[in-house]
Subunit: 259 residues, 2 copies
Amino acid sequence: MTDFANDLDPLFKKMSRYVALSNAQRQTLANLAERAQSVPKETTIVEQGERCASCGILAKGWAIQSKSLSDGRRQIIDILLPGTFVNLQATLLENPDFSVATLTESTVHWFDPNRLVELIRTDPVLGMAVMWDRTQEESILMERLVSLGQRSAKERLAHVLIELQQRLELRGLDGHQKLPFPVTQTTLADLLGLTAVHINRTLKDLKRDGLIDYGRNTIVLQDVNRLLRWADFDASYLHNAAMLERTRKTLSAAQRPGA
Amino acid sequence: MTDFANDLDPLFKKMSRYVALSNAQRQTLANLAERAQSVPKETTIVEQGERCASCGILAKGWAIQSKSLSDGRRQIIDILLPGTFVNLQATLLENPDFSVATLTESTVHWFDPNRLVELIRTDPVLGMAVMWDRTQEESILMERLVSLGQRSAKERLAHVLIELQQRLELRGLDGHQKLPFPVTQTTLADLLGLTAVHINRTLKDLKRDGLIDYGRNTIVLQDVNRLLRWADFDASYLHNAAMLERTRKTLSAAQRPGA
DNA sequence: ATGAAATTTTTACCTAGGTTAAGATAATTT
DNA sequence: AAATTATCTTAACCTAGGTAAAAATTTCAT
């Protein structure tokens, strides 16, 4: 089994943080999928309250996971990047309590939840790696809760931009500060619990300060150091040793600059 | 192995939703613990960033899980009720990215994370039950995110009060609407992303409307139906079939009342 | 290319909830 | 029981971010 480029490379790269994946284990993960589905952009693939008895892997594309209230307000729980498990809740429930919709054209590999349960029996180490991945996702949720509960609009925005950049990076998708960014300002608003108008004001603000630049579907993190400080960004919650080290260095290198 | 009252009954009751626990399995869970620790109230048992290589079960008492920013702001992630796993993250990391502190005098049963990994190998069904429990906790997190991002102060407060009541209930701890409530207004504020002053205003408001009554360490849900509607409470996220059914009934019984 | 639909930007105005501070109650300590 | 400390309550005032509406850009469908 050679090691050529694979749809699931972002997943493998991400999971490699937890266990050194053998080729056999990569194969096992790849074989989890029963059918690969190509999904157009802006399509709901899991709908809150509707039956959806499959788990998936978002192999290509970006998506959002959200919850809606009966009056139409919605909160985006997280942005799902390539190499993310989708609807693992299906091991427990047939009717998810959240929705998932693609932002871009995507590929989703679907599988029966029982295969995951089975995996945990047959390859507990790999099973644990999946659990650890969920632990990581949970930490992202917790940090988002901190943002919504405590941080100002500017801090929230700076924080989530760095987060996305780092999450892409640990999937091997983008090493630098120019992000492909298929996320509208309205989407960003629903993610951060703000209005689109205020997102616009705040983006402009960050741009004026030289912290970011942005345009059609791109964001450039112009000054990562100052962003890190602005957002009081502590990478611990991403559970990535390398990033922690780098962030620490970055922060100590730039001693006392302030906003 | 007889079935007499046990420290871990709330845990067993809660987990019974997922699997019919045999006495042997109850024993297995009880044997996870290596040492039971009695902890005074208002004591930090897990500290963000500090080494803590054990998992625990909060058997008795209430606690809070929180994250702090470097400038002292803190966000309470969740209130931990009796029968809750603590720091399962330790299976992955030695330095948790959150803190846990008791609210009341508590008993914590500590165990080595490896015993949990081992459990998943030796009794996969029980292992899955633990995973399902985490799935449930994650759903609570998601719903809190919806609250902080979308709901008004009044809605947040009403929502979290019902949630706590139902979470107690599914541990067999309190069937009714009078809650023992070792939670200060400041704590509530840090949980809901509001200030203590505004919590006070909002509590007064709910009291004036006859929705709740409150006093020294107690809250009484006076009118659960109207609270449910006020909060737009959808119990799905608690993953409890019985509650869903009851909430549905309650809501349909009270056709068109409005605030 | 052209018209319709989304998205982004800007302006003017408003309100939910924050801030500060001080007094009232209750719980703890000595 | 007096004194200290924490919690709760109230009031006066303020601001971050919401609302509404319209113009400027882009994108998309025909």
